[in-house]
Amino acid sequence: MTPGAGLDIARSRCFSLLSHVDHGKSTLADRILELCGAVDARSMREQFLDSMDLERERGITIKAQNVRLTWRDFVLHLIDTPGHVDFGYEVSRSLAACEGAVLLVDASQGIEAQTLANCYAALEADLTIVAVLNKIDLPQAEPDRRADEIERVLGIPAPDVLRISAKTGQGVPELLDAVVDRIPAPTGDPDAPLQGLLFDSYYDPYRGVVSSVRVFNGTLTTGARLRYLQAGATHEAEEVGVRTPDPTPVAALGPGEVGYLIAGIKDVGEARVGETVTGAARPGAPLAGYRDPKPMVFCGLYPVVGDEYADLRDALEKLRLNDSSFTYEPETSGALGFGFRCGFLGLLHMEIIRERLEREYDLSLVATSPNVEYRAVRVDGAVEMVDNPSAMPPPSELETIEEPYVTVTILTPTDYVGPLMDLAQARRGEQTKLEYLAEDRVELVYALPLAEIVVDFFDQLKSRTRGYASLDYEPAGYRPADLVKVEVLLNGVPVDAFSTIVHRQEAQDYARRMTVRLRELIPRQLFDVPIQAAVGGRIIARETVKAKRKDVLAKCYGGDVTRKRKLLERQKEGKRRMKQIGRVEVPQEAFVAALRLDES
């Protein structure tokens, strides 16, 4: 049973760990690695799970990881999946590399929204599910009750639900035995044309792109000429190996094996999640289910200091080598200068990218408020995808605007159903389901405009339920809506950074809030400056920055001319850095402050 093509496929198991945030996935992974004698837990953590600082801090997994373990006389391939709804597609590809999944549920918390979402995704991928209640050592654990809940909600018989404590290790060997007993062995023909699924790629500055791969058919051999079917490119397999978790080169990977592949690729965009690799000489068919990563949420990212534009561009380039699922293109804003319009898989993804840019590349950034991608249907029937509010055509040219919807699943204690229904209703939600999972737990399902949840829906949900409700969502197509573009004009000139698309009923509110805020932040000029908000050319809110009447030092005292001159010098520098919006001079800080207020 040496690693490589000699593996007995009947003695291999490929499975993932699925759980809601904080239900103990990382701890369980630690314990499994220890039991299998892979490494001690400390160095394992550094190499295996949650390898980015951000992942550790936020307690979520962003990248898929995998490790090869030995349990009794079986080889286990454990694949860790990203733990957030933004990365649903990556999760689906990780699951596609498995035959089974361990579904971890906290024995006191019970089923949460992500438990459901994960379970459905696993069932959709035809996986065998091993349900496990964790944290049974805690006094507030109610394993019997939670097992019943699992049976009722997920249809997994209660007696089949295992009970463990990942912390103490209790029940973990039995869990590994269950993985071996219940999850089917992979099938596949080592002599067929190669079919390998890439389910993760990251960029290593020394090795280039390192991909995680699951072989379904054929044999992936070091040195082979490979065809990447989606990218349409040919590369040589420079190194093939397995992670134990230390990367260990092997001669070949056969069906039912999971490992890594290095093929001299410089850009993760050429080795995307979901890609099929096959032999260049004897190509196999592409595996099903590939999708181009599709950004759902967009915003403008600008350096706070204009000089950092080139640094931002370089940082985006580098970051994209590691994450091909976000997009960026240069844009110029009258208010914020040179920056980029960026697209993200979701709001968390956006926050992660922004945080990494600021942290790893030492940039100070300002983001315009996030928006979704709209379908603008013109009067002549032509359809345009609009990812920047300021690019939305004028109302006279539009038949309708359609916006993306999502199906939102919320699990909550019954006490909070009322407040949550209020919240969903205020966000234009349409209830499609209300079901009691137990006498004290309710599942709510809503159709909601994505735009309504990208800003603060999650925070609102948490604060209205004291943190007890959980949320998951998935895309649910486009629907026409009564949407309008609100433009903000400074002395008659539109300020792009504040254009937004909102439901007609919210236009007035946004208009009033933004004009008042800008009136407070924009310094007085030599003339009155009207700040207006308009919908389709009609003014719906107006404020005025009154002309400045006084700006003079009363006195330069006792011959202290130096102080006065320094003041003038500072103001002169400030004047030269002003953004010019028509005739109005505004320090960029004012715009930045207005946008930051919107974030908070």
Partner: protein, 386 residues
């Protein structure tokens, strides 16, 4: 010891800083102390020593003006002030000013001053309305102003200035009109009117920062400035600097020196000096000044030498504050024309001067001219659209 051979010489001023006050005004951030009375005699001695050294070094030639500022110079015993003044070589027609608190002068004191050569008094009046004075943290009774002015005239000091401050919390437009009227009733040849300015490290600054007291309102102060300019200018005292009005011939010579980048010597702690493009300032605390003088060292704490471009920028900023105005660098001609069209500048031959509205916006106008005169490095971007 006035000297008489001064015709055609470049003006030279002497500023003497007296850092002692009876009480501190709420808005004041000057170098002054209310708890250092015990230092006064030593301080006067140090000023005398400092002056003697400078005369011996040839640094202090006969002065065209002397200005005792503070602090409250009139707190000094009359002979103490005279001891200092006696050490300053002066030209025949030298202007000698003492800043006086109306509370701390009387006939004998002013007569002693006058005999020693003081020929100008600047009274810190601030307001003639008691509730406004209280809001400023001032203690004097407006009636003392009338008495002090009369006493100065009795002593033969006719060249008088009244310092006014506008914009205190609770000062109405009518209060300000009343203050202007009462000030003019005393018939001073010179009036200074300063907008109350909030300096952070003062009791007023702290109250404003804490939100317990509203700061002065720009629009209110603008209206009061315009009113002052109307009233004072209309009384035969045209403005000659942003905050100063005088009958022709009564402009303060010493202050004109500051605004013309003239030369002046600084005596005492915290005093500033300028000579031919080198600006310097003395140590700020009186104790430090005493130590330096006692150790035979210069009291200078720091200095800067202005390069020609900085000196030119400074000249523009200072000259624009005066009625004579400034000549505009060629690169800023278009900006000057725009400011003229906006009614902020008026052209006089080769120079431009601030209009009344322009004086209220002197900083903005100066900054625009300076920015226009400096080659630009900023990255301007397309306006408004993507």
């Amino acid at each position: 010891m006035p000297s008489s051979t001064d015709a055609g010489r470049r003006d030279l001023g002497v500023y003497v800083h007296i850092p002692f006050c009876a009480t501190r005004c709420d808005y004041c951030d000057f170098a002054t102390w209310t708890d250092r009375g015990g230092l006064v005699d030593a301080y006067v001695d140090a000023c005398v020593t400092d002056l003697r050294r400078r005369v011996a070094a040839g640094e202090l030639t006969p002065a065209s003006s002397v200005f005792f500022g503070g602090g409250t110079p009139s707190l000094l015993a009359p002979d103490a002030l005279v001891r200092i003044l006696d050490e300053i070589p002066r030209r025949a027609a030298a202007e000698v000013t003492v800043e006086c608190n109306p509370d701390s002068v009387d006939g004998p004191k002013l007569r002693t001053y006058a005999r020693a050569g003081v020929n100008r008094c600047s009274f810190g009046v601030q307001s003639m309305q008691p509730h406004v004075l209280a809001a400023l943290g001032r203690t004097h009774d407006p009636a003392n102003v009338t008495r002090a002015v009369a006493a100065a005239r009795d002593a033969g000091i006719e060249n008088l200035n009244l310092d006014l401050i506008y914009g205190a919390h609770g000062e109405s437009r009518a209060d300000w009109d009343a203050t202007l009227e009462a000030a003019l009733a005393l018939d001073p040849p010179h009036v200074s009117a300063y907008a109350l300015t909030v300096e952070p490290p003062t009791p007023l600054g702290r109250r404003v920062a804490a939100g317990t007291s509203p700061g002065p309102d720009d629009d209110d102060q603008a209206a009061k400035y315009e009113r002052a300019d109307e009233v004072l200018g209309g009384s035969g005292r045209p403005w000659y600097e942003v905050s100063n009005w005088a009958r022709p011939g009564h402009e303060c010579r010493h202050h004109l020196l500051y605004w013309a980048q003239g030369d002046y010597v600084g005596i005492g702690c915290a005093a500033h000096a300028h000579r031919a493009g080198v600006r310097s300032w003395n140590v700020r605390a009186p104790e430090r000044y005493l130590e330096r003088i006692a150790a035979g060292r210069s009291p200078e704490a720091g200095r800067e030498t202005l390069d020609p471009a900085t000196r030119a920028d400074e000249a523009l900023g200072l000259a624009l504050r005066t009625r004579a105005g400034a000549s505009v660098p060629a690169a800023a001609a278009a900006e000057a024309a725009a400011l003229e069209a906006a009614g902020l500048l008026a052209r006089r031959a080769e120079r431009v001067a601030l209009t009344r509205r322009g004086r209220l916006l002197a900083t903005e106008v100066t900054v625009r001219l300076l920015a226009a005169a400096t080659p630009t490095v900023s990255t301007s971007v397309a306006v408004g659209t993507r």
